[in-house]
């Protein structure tokens, strides 16, 4: 095993980002939670595709359902507190993951679809060494022997630019800084060369310089391994910098999806526009900026309005918006928007 294996797959598959068949198709995915106050639908009818080698950004305010979407894909939500509605499909290699058996899921998790979590501080098991935890993933999904696994794990640590990788191998999570722990998480996620990497706000808990490093790292890995990345973030700066396509979520719904350039140049949903206009023009490439506030509040999942969920905060709404919820409709090539009165389509299109 040497680092050459990292490039082979990219060469083998060699497709340009965003072309060909999607690796992952999510259709009408709805996830509900059983809570004390009743059942809530945290994400409602979410559909999108993910192509090999592309980075799909998912943005939205806190509570819009980004994490729930990604955990639903991986089936990581607790089975007795949550369920998917009838008709939810997560198609991966021709199989519907929503109805896959636990055994099938185990072969997918870690090996084919890997995930990096929002909280690097608590996502590593405090009582096992970094090495042990990296080794575990390799043990489940590769046929390597012990020595090879160790070598591979150290290689991965070096790949994510972990300083002093050999020594870190035997250390415990609490001996590492947040940035280093996130690198371990990335190394762990990538060590079995997954087809899809879901990164749930991989950088929010980190400071700006580390954030930039981590994002660059993910970008490099993507081009080396041709991995599809689902990047969940609050941060439009990060989106502009790294994503090929963006999905905007609001209160459990997808409200707009578009290639990056089009979204920034000509947002078609009022919510997207509000998001974009509230960052200073010069700040578009600036990272570390949180989503600026928009007047009003996100509706509670328990008291969703009958019409458009964004209506209460929308500058363009009318009675129709309050009465009928819009459907997600095509708005140009690879573009969709959920609005009765989408904003002007750009001339160039």
């Amino acid at each position: 095993m040497n680092s050459s294996h990292l490039t082979t797959r990219a060469a083998r598959e060699g497709s340009a980002p965003g072309s060909g068949k999607p690796v992952l198709e999510v259709e009408h995915l709805s996830t509900c939670f059983k809570t004390d106050q009743g059942v809530v639908t945290a994400i409602d009818d979410v559909s999108f595709e993910l192509y090999a080698g592309e980075t799909l950004g998912i943005v939205g305010e806190s509570g819009s359902g980004k994490t729930v979407t990604s955990k639903s894909i991986m089936r990581l939500l607790s089975e007795h507190l949550s369920f998917q509605k009838e008709g939810s499909v997560v198609r991966f290699e021709g199989k519907n993951l929503v109805t896959a058996t636990e055994d099938e899921m185990r072969n997918v998790r870690g090996a084919r679809i890997a995930m990096i979590f929002q909280e690097p501080m608590t996502s590593l098991n405090p009582v096992f060494t970094i090495g042990w935890q990296l080794d575990e993933a390799l043990k489940y999904h590769t046929k390597l022997n012990r020595a090879e696994r160790k070598q591979r794990a150290i290689e991965m640590l070096e790949l994510v630019e972990m300083p002093n990788a050999k020594r870190r191998f035997d250390e415990y999570p609490h001996q590492l800084s947040g940035g280093m722990r996130q690198r371990v998480m990335i190394a762990m996620a990538l060590c079995c060369e997954p087809d899809i990497l879901i990164a749930d706000e991989p950088t929010t808990a980190l400071d700006v310089t580390i954030q930039a490093q981590i994002l660059r790292l993910m970008d490099e890995l993507k081009s080396k391994l041709n991995t599809a990345i689902m990047l969940i973030t609050h941060d439009l700066g990060v989106v502009a910098q790294t994503c090929d396509r963006v999905l905007v979520m609001y209160a459990g719904r997808v409200v707009e999806s578009a290639p990056i350039a089009q979204l920034f140049d000509a947002p078609r949903h009022p919510y997207t526009k509000a998001l974009l206009s509230s960052i200073p023009k010069s700040g578009r490439r600036e990272h570390g900026k949180r989503l600026p506030t928009i007047e009003g509040l996100v509706p509670s999942l328990f008291h969703l309005p009958p019409g458009c969920r964004f209506a209460a905060r929308c500058a363009y709404r009318d009675a129709h918006c309050d009465a009928v919820e819009p459907e997600l409709t095509d708005a140009g090539p690879r573009r969709e928007v959920r609005c009765h009165y989408p904003l002007e389509a750009p001339e160039a299109n």
Binding site: F117, V127, Y172, M188
Partner: protein, 318 residues
């Protein structure tokens, strides 16, 4: 690590000094000698006894003497009042083995069973198995210890095998030797295990459930770990921290928990010796035994902290 142990030791010194003072004070609320001699003793008898047992000396002197005895573990000069010619040292030596013969197996059995059941329960969390187990645990907890003892003795020692003239368990009594152990001690051990089960299972289950909600469990799942691996490797090692604490803190109480069993089954352990001493107002025995129990308790506390540090790397290295 050594400084850690030393710190814990030093911290517990004032606590132990306090216990001794409290204990000696409480035992002197009722004058021990009038307790022994009756309501209106002959003054000369009284003085003689007071002198013989050193109770005429100032409190501080008696305090230092008791402390010295405990620190040097030398009780050979403390004379029992009611067992002629017996010294506390001998009583302790005789009673410690029967006590351990019940306590240690009971603790091991309880912990293993309770943890296993807790894991099963947490594994099937929210399902009928879990619910049934937890209802049983609460109901079990609500029945008095004494009822278990009485029925345990009645069914297993008295009724079981009576028809065929066999006796599987002793109704009471004790004989030393490993071969005699099942006959005399197994029943008390089983009863004590059964009683502790409800509490422990619930506690361990709560620990497991709490651990199961942690982020690193999701990480392990996302890595493709099986449910059993997650349960027995990821969760159990983390859960060991509260589990160890629990076991260690119940340790000294188990000695006392077996008091009831020892009294009921006539097993000459430390609990029964203490009980009899209290009944017979055997002042020096009571005082020394309680002092020893408290010392054991504090030692087990320190041991807990050390074990804690061994399991949890965060404590170990700080």
């Amino acid at each position: 690590m050594w400084t850690f142990i030393l710190r814990r030791l030093l911290y517990n010194v004032p606590v132990y000094l306090g216990i001794l003072a409290l204990l000696m004070g409480a035992l002197r609320v009722n004058d021990p000698i009038s307790g022994k001699l009756g309501k209106n003793p002959d003054p000369s008898d009284y003085l003689a006894l007071e002198q013989r047992y050193g109770l005429d000396q100032p409190f501080a002197v008696q305090y230092v003497k008791l402390l010295g005895d405990v620190v040097t573990l030398d009780f050979t000069d403390v004379e029992s009042w009611t067992n002629d010619g017996l010294f506390v040292g001998e009583m302790l030596a005789e009673s410690i083995v029967p006590s351990l013969a019940i306590t240690v197996p009971a603790l091991c059995l309880t912990s293993v069973l309770a943890i296993s059941i807790a894991i099963i329960s947490a594994f099937f969390r929210g399902r009928p198995v879990d619910k049934t187990l937890m209802v049983l645990a609460v109901v079990g907890m609500s029945v008095s210890f004494l009822v278990y003892v009485i029925f345990g003795q009645y069914w297993f020692a008295y009724l079981l095998g009576r028809g065929s003239g066999l006796s599987y368990f002793a109704i009471g009594g004790y004989e030393s030797g490993l071969a005699n152990w099942p006959y005399y001690c197994l029943l008390p051990v089983l009863i004590s295990t059964f009683v502790a089960m409800g509490y422990d299972t619930r506690f361990y289950r709560a620990v497991m459930v709490e651990e199961s909600g942690r982020d690193y469990i999701t990480t392990a799942k996302a890595k493709g770990a099986t449910k059993t691996k997650i349960m027995f490797v990821h969760m159990l090692k983390n859960a060991m921290i509260p589990i160890i604490t629990r076991i260690m803190t119940t340790l000294p109480f188990l000695v006392m928990g077996s008091l009831l069993l020892e009294v009921y089954f006539n097993i000459p352990g430390m609990g029964r010796v203490l009980y009899k001493a209290i009944q017979e107002q055997d002042f020096p025995v009571v005082q020394t035994f309680v002092a020893i129990f408290a010392a054991l308790f504090i030692l087990s506390n320190i041991l807990t902290d050390v074990l804690y540090a061994l399991v949890d790397p965060r404590v170990r290295l700080s």
